[in-house]
């Protein structure tokens, strides 16, 4: 599960064991009650994605990013569209170990992210080499 403060509320995403580990997103805006934001985060085909609890919320670009390692080992970035209340997904493409060739970034394990000075940093175990790594939106020098 992952919990962040965003837009004056606490927002939590978690894999719901009662629903085959589909991802639910809830928020608490101050009355000690949690309201449902998203019953199930969907993939591009409209099917609920499932995860072994490997997900992370982080503020980015004035919005929320949900980074998910799905049960297939793929890492996705979900962007919350307030208008449609949907999470728009993008398979994370990136470069590993300084490679210049972008490809899907994958992991088998949990991942954890933070925002710093407008960029996102996600610590994860990169399936490409099995080593803890940091993927970031910050441009390299």
């Amino acid at each position: 599960m992952s919990l962040v403060e965003f837009d004056g509320a606490l927002v939590m995403a978690f894999a719901d064991a009662a629903s085959n580990n589909q991802i639910r997103v809830i928020r608490n805006s101050g009355k000690n009650t949690w309201t449902l934001v998203t019953a199930a985060v969907l993939d591009a085909n409209g099917s609920p994605i499932t995860t072994h609890s490997a997900l992370n919320l982080m503020p980015y670009g004035g919005s929320l990013l949900l980074v998910v390692n799905d049960n297939g080992g793929n890492i996705y970035t979900y962007f919350y569209d307030r208008n449609t209340s949907h999470w728009v997904n993008r398979l994370i493409q990136g470069t590993s170990n300084g490679s210049t060739k972008a490809g899907p970034l994958q992991t088998k394990y949990a991942l954890s992210g933070v925002s710093f000075q407008g960029s996102a940093y996600v610590v994860f175990t990169d399936k490409a080499n099995g080593a803890p790594s940091i993927m970031t939106t910050a441009a390299g020098s």
Binding site: M12, G62, D81, R90, N97, G118, Y121, V123, T125, G130
Partner: protein, 672 residues
């Protein structure tokens, strides 16, 4: 209503002298780690001002306009020869070229037109500014203007090439032109060339010598809001007077010069930025005005025209003129220019110099767009209240609608990414549906081994300046931070804990890494340490992933132990050690104080302990004085809806320090 509207009368900012390109002392520039910028963010310009529609964008406004000559024959500017309008010295320009040169390259830096009192005085200043271009001679067949136009053409060519590449790589991107302009000027190369072409010496750094380009940019509030309206009105009135006298070529020349300021009124970054308020004796204030300008330009603003039956549309700004999302705004801007031009044509025909300003009906209503509480738009970075700037409390939160006068321009410049905060959609809050472009990631390994280091948890810890005093317990805080320093890479450490599993999976140690953000974004390969709380290494179970959250100057760790119990520990950046508050070295989570400050959001106990997640409810306002952290402390009062949060007794002691000494010592007015 919070208003960002500023008037000339209320503002004390003044322009400097027009001394030609003096080798002035370099401005106070705060070095920044350029590596942190995401590639789609605008490049850093290490100098005040520079808020302009890109020059090729300005030039584009001249395309397709319809003119009428002295004989009443209509004509358009058709390639290959489009330069129909000669200046007094015989140089010929197109309408778009004059429009692009006006104000940004030609004018009097010490005499902003809108600063003059009354129509006549403003028109007089407009003519003086206009004459810097109109009277410029050709010398041996060349001139400053021709050099500038050559650079504009180079920039246009470079941007067009970049657009083709970006469109091929990101066919669904909606901010292609913005990306292209940013990429092609990433090293400030065009700004350097423009500066040199307008009289600067070739120095390092390039902005140490100021050509007229930089001098004009430093006092360019004529291009913003009500100042732009006043400047356009002055110039348009002059054009009408020339037309009424029958001098149609001078009339069009004047009109093109005036239309620069008219078209600025269709650039989102020019609508609510309190540019003049942000021109103080602190150069960082000018830099911050650029941040707001760039942020609004990229994110766009929902605007409404000034007609009796107003129409709403979304205006984007500089670098985005040609983006598809801006098509409506661009079209309205061109219509406004044609309407303005038609009034000049009418004056040519009627010989009536009476001023009419029909184009201003089409421009965005400045009063409405200045409503900072309008949730159709992102929160403005600055608002002007009684001539004083107030800054968005949470810099990085585009939804935060609280502003404060307790800030440091220099600190803001440190905190903010270049280009301001770009919304993911590249659109106003309710307008965007998809990200403006794919989020681009890079991955770098941080551990040398290739396996068994699993499931990391990360947190950012802020360091402190230990040379200063504070009122907090030394065990919690080793010093009082210096404002403006806390959000720098040098003052922050990215920490990660993870589960290190033995090769036979028989045991699982909890390991820890502390990575200085000066290593970002590529970082390097580190050696992790085994967390030992007490005398023994801390062990967990298969699946018992640890979790950390930042606390004051350190971390709070919660980990499911291999005995089925949740444990907690603290790590302090200053001492680089782990500890607990109990003597036996390990402690059941949570103790009485922490249970009030943190929420543990997972079942506890059991060998198959699930991953834990925590939320730090009480802090870390005291960790950092930055506005970002302050909102974390009290989202209920700082941003929007209330959240019941319990104040930490540990944190309360910090307030007096910042509430008095530091605030008074470092207020923005005294910083330079």
């Amino acid at each position: 209503m919070n208003s960002t509207t500023e008037s000339n009368d209320a503002i004390a900012a003044v322009a400097g002298s027009d001394a030609p390109a003096a080798e002035a002392l370099p401005p106070v520039v705060f070095p920044r780690d350029r590596r942190k910028y995401t590639r789609h963010l605008s490049p850093l310009h290490a100098d005040p001002g520079l808020e302009l529609f890109e020059s090729p964008e300005h030039e584009a406004f001249g395309d397709g306009l319809i003119f009428v000559d002295a004989q009443g024959n209509s004509f358009t500017q058709s390639p290959p020869s489009v330069n129909y309008f000669p200046n007094a010295a015989g140089q010929s320009f197109s309408f778009g070229q004059i429009l692009a040169l006006a104000g940004d390259f030609y004018g009097l830096p010490s005499q902003p037109i809108s600063d003059a009192s009354g129509d006549a005085a403003q028109q007089q200043r407009f003519i003086q500014a206009f004459n810097t271009l109109y009277d410029e001679p050709l010398v041996f067949g060349t001139s400053m203007a021709l050099n500038i136009l050559s650079i504009i053409q180079d920039q246009s060519n470079a941007v067009n090439a970049a657009v083709a590449q970006i469109q091929a790589a990101q066919p669904k991107a909606t901010d292609v032109w913005s990306q292209a302009y940013s990429q092609t000027n990433a090293g400030d190369q065009f700004d350097q060339r423009y500066n040199l072409a307008t009289g600067a010496s070739n120095m390092v750094p390039w902005w140490a010598s100021k050509g007229r380009y930089l001098q004009l940019a430093a006092t360019n509030w004529d291009h913003f809001g009500t100042h732009a309206v006043a400047t356009y009105r002055a110039g348009h009135a002059c054009a009408l007077q020339a037309a009424a006298s029958g001098d149609y070529q001078r009339a069009y020349f004047l009109e093109a010069f005036a239309c620069h300021f008219l078209t600025d009124l269709f650039s989102a970054g020019h609508l609510r930025t309190p540019r003049k308020t942000l021109h103080t004796n602190n150069p960082a204030a000018d830099l911050c005005s650029r941040l707001m300008h760039d942020e609004d330009s990229y994110n766009g603003l929902v605007v409404q025209d000034n007609s009796a039956n107003p129409t709403s549309w979304i205006a984007y700004g500089d670098k985005r003129l040609n983006d598809t999302l801006n098509a409506t705004n661009f079209s309205r801007a061109r219509n406004a220019v044609q309407i303005s031009l038609n009034e000049v044509i009418n004056a040519l025909s009627t010989r009536d110099p009476s001023p009419t300003y029909g184009a201003l009906v089409l421009t965005p209503n400045l009063s409405l767009v200045a409503n900072a509480t309008d949730t159709r738009n992102w929160s403005p970075l600055y608002i002007a209240v009684n001539g004083e700037a107030q800054q968005r409390v949470v810099l990085t939160d585009l939804r935060c609608r609280k502003w404060s006068d307790d800030f440091l321009y220099s600190s803001t410049y440190w905190d903010m990414p270049a280009g301001g905060i770009h919304s993911l959609t590249g659109a106003p809050p309710d307008a965007g549906t998809v990200p403006a472009h794919p989020v681009s990631w890079q991955s770098h390994r941080i551990i040398g081994s290739n396996q068994d280091d699993l499931a990391p948890s990360a947190a950012m810890v802020t360091n402190y300046d230990s040379t200063l005093t504070n009122t907090l317990p030394q065990t919690m805080l080793s010093g009082t931070p210096t404002p403006g320093q806390l959000d720098t890479a040098q003052q922050n450490t990215l920490c990660a804990v993870f589960r290190k599993t033995s090769s036979d999976s028989s045991n699982h140690h909890v390991h820890f890494l502390a990575m200085p953000m000066t290593d970002a974004p590529a970082f390097k390969v580190y050696t992790s340490s085994d967390i030992s709380i007490g005398t023994s290494p801390t062990m967990t179970t298969n699946g018992g992933d640890p979790a950390i959250v930042p606390i004051i100057g350190g971390l709070l760790l919660v980990v499911p132990g291999n005995d089925g119990t949740l444990y907690q520990a603290n790590w302090f950046l200053a001492s680089q050690t782990w500890s607990t508050s109990t003597s036996n070295g390990r402690q059941f989570a949570f103790n009485a104080t922490d249970s009030g400050n943190y929420k543990l959001l997972a079942p506890s106990g059991g060998d198959a302990a699930p991953r834990v997640a925590m939320c730090n409810l009480g802090a870390p306002a005291c960790i950092s004085r930055s506005r970002r952290a302050r909102c974390r402390r009290a989202p209920a009062t700082s941003c929007s809806r209330p959240i019941p949060v319990r104040a930490s007794s540990t944190h309360r002691g910090r307030s007096p320090t910042w509430g008095r000494t530091a605030r008074n010592s470092f207020r923005k007015r005294t910083s330079a």
